[in-house]
Subunit: 236 residues, 2 copies
DNA sequence: ATGCAATTCAAACGAGCGTTTGAATTCTCA
DNA sequence: TGAGAATTCAAACGCTCGTTTGAATTGCAT
């Protein structure tokens, strides 16, 4: 009658079993990247981690909870860092609101740092995250919402002050586009090899350096476009 | 000894069995949208289409080939229309190359028309497409590459002429960002409800009208940004 | 009407899935 | 060192999956 998931350890730190838990998380990070959540079986996962099949359910409860743990491990510190950077930015120049560039960079830098840090999962995790953003599974959507809600809300306020020409709704859409371009770019570095030869050292740092001016210009752009303009093209 | 997939019909048109095939395609479009490829079973699919379980393998060969058929049905005409629009644009003003706006609109309009046309799958299909873009499955990546290669190549040349300040490589990345923002936006209209209240009639047409100025500004932006600028934020 | 191909159908196949079980083992601290 | 908790383990459970089979049915051209 082994407890499916022990309520809490008596005294020892969580690090006691961290070896098995960490090996599972690392293997999951890699396999979820390669094959996605649904297509990754617990058998291949526990094989890759060199742990017993039952270990996932013992340590995490279920496959879904394992997936959430994979995301939380990296996402919590990253979003924390994002919020701290933004607060530092706002405390810095109390009079004028920080510029659009600075706010955007504060969002991108923690992702950049994570991508650089191989010990913290590096690029693999960002690809898992990008995929998760496009996944229809309700438990994933719910989880990401909870994880991102505060960070997004804070940044939205900051962007609103930096971009006074945009309505709240217009900005909501633009942030949506930003997150889309970001997650997509991070998710599919390999997919780029479809379009062109990116064989050289086009690492994630370089991606963000290319992404930043693109997004800044998009955010600063004037609002809306007339539908009639769109029709013009087909009419001539 | 029924043939798994008949080589070719004797005389009759393909439309003979179009009822069953179409019902399967329609149901697949909806279910792949809702749950994704892996999480949609052929049993719930054939139930929804009110056809026999074996009909999918009979008419399409396999689940994977069904998925490709779902994409092809809409993607082929859409990309064809994109190419035709671009050619019309280039023939129009032979002297000067068409502007960045016009080229981008030529890309967006066929997607917009598809989204409007409920008889051709409408929004559902665009969401399937957006998801497919983020899917790691090799057969999906390969298939999308083949479907998009020609269209992308042609548009890249057109954008290169419209944006002479961008190197070929820089433009490759920007088109990547454009496709990312586009597919992500189309894929997750519901995901937006996380960020804010988009309860009103924010249909796909309006999405593209908001997306267009964002992308145009991003494409026109000057190239690259200095790394030192990025570090500045965290240093102060 | 007849014959043949195209299609539909109910049933089953083998494999793999996530999860559970209960005993064996290891670890921890009194 | 010994009791008790935490962890590991091999095995199995029940279920669903995509696919295949071969007979039944339908549609069409002769």
């Amino acid at each position: 009658m082994a407890a499916p998931r022990p309520a809490r350890k008596s005294v020892a730190l969580d690090a006691t079993s961290a070896d098995t838990k960490t090996r599972i998380l690392d293997a999951a990070e890699g396999l979820f990247t390669e094959h996605g959540f649904e297509a990754t079986s617990l058998r291949q996962l526990t094989n890759a981690a060199a742990v017993n099949l039952a270990a996932v359910n013992y340590h995490f409860g279920s496959k879904e909870e394992l997936f959430q743990a994979v995301l939380t491990r990296r996402l919590d510190p990253m979003n924390q860092e994002r919020i701290e950077l933004l607060e530092a930015l706002e405390g810095e120049a109390a009079a004028k609101p920080p510029s659009c560039e600075k706010v955007l960079f504060a969002m991108l830098i923690p992702a950049l740092r994570l991508a650089r840090d191989e010990k913290r999962g590096g690029k693999n995790f960002l690809r898992v995250l990008g995929r998760a953003y496009a996944d229809p599974a309700p438990f994933i959507r719910r989880f990401l919402h909870e994880q991102y809600a505060e960070m997004i809300a804070r940044y939205k306020e900051a962007f609103l002050r930096a971009l006074p020409h945009l309505s709240r709704q217009e900005l909501t859409w633009r942030l949506h586009f930003v997150m889309g371009a970001l997650s997509y770019s991070l998710a599919s570095t390999d997919a780029l090899k479809q379009f062109a030869q990116v064989t050289q050292a086009d690492n994630d740092e370089l991606i963000l350096q290319r992404l930043a001016p693109f997004l800044v210009a998009g955010l600063k752009a004037p609002a809306l476009v007339d539908t009639r303009k769109l029709e013009l093209v087909s009419g001539s």
